[in-house]
Amino acid sequence: MTTAASVVERLRERIGVAAPATQSTVEAGHLKRFAEAIGDTNPRWLEEAPPTFLVALSPAAYHLEEAEEYGKGWLNGGNRFEYFEPVRVGDRVTATGRVADVYEKTGSSGNLLFIIFETEYLNQHGRTVARLRGTAIRR
């Protein structure tokens, strides 16, 4: 338990600290592969990003090594997207992620560690195109 408690404490120190921003260009080939992978044949997605595509540009939860000392595996608890502008082929998107919260909960099958990530996506014009909130769970 002392180890788990110290992992939680160390992770809590990360709350509010932004990870280095990642920049990527929305490529036609990537959009096409993504739409094929989700099985959505709408031709609209050859030009425009479908609702969940942004997670393919930058991970919903950036890697936190120390979290892996807790429990034995990751689960995705949920995702929340907010959209402000469409994202299209050729857009240069900058994603900045941060840890919004870290807490422990006792579930029916033991303790769980919750890490809430928030990512903001900006386009080449400096406008926010979307925000994503993700709940990563270690169990």
């Binding site: 592969r33 992978a37 099985g39 609702p51 997670v55 393919a56 995705n76 949920g78």
Partner: protein
């Protein structure tokens, strides 16, 4: 035609395969082994490889965008994963209009496994064209 409260969204049934999970892992860049390595998945207490939560979110996103078409814009989309789903079983996406306030429409969406359990719950907020 404007959506009305209680209106059902035409369902979308997906048939995910292990191959699709690998395809999705590559397209998203999520190479966590629980989505393609059976032995690894079992070693962390899962029944076998499972669908990416975000793949299920993408299915529910398609449910909404197929229904919405060019009648409006998706403003917010939230999903909560309540259970694991395995490939080789149909995944049924469903939805119902919950709230209509002017041009803002809220749709409750959910994904059902082959036994009818709602393993993914969500909400989509759309703005209809005026």
């Amino acid at each position: 035609m404007k959506p009305t409260v209680g209106q059902e969204v035409p369902e979308l049934v997906k048939h995910p395969t292990t191959r699709q999970l690998v395809q999705y892992a590559g397209a998203q860049g999520d190479f966590y082994e629980i989505h393609y390595d059976q032995a690894y998945a079992k070693s962390v207490g899962l029944p076998g490889v499972i669908l990416h939560g975000l793949l299920k979110a993408a299915f529910l996103g398609q449910l909404v965008t197929d229904w919405l078409g060019d009648r409006g814009t998706l403003k917010a989309f939230e999903v909560s994963y309540r259970g694991v789903d395995q490939p080789g079983r149909p995944y049924r996406c469903r939805g119902q209009v919950k709230k209509v306030a002017g041009d803002q429409v809220e749709i409750e969406v959910w994904g059902e496994d082959s036994e009818g359990n709602r393993t993914t719950l969500g909400t989509a907020t759309v703005e209809m064209n005026g």
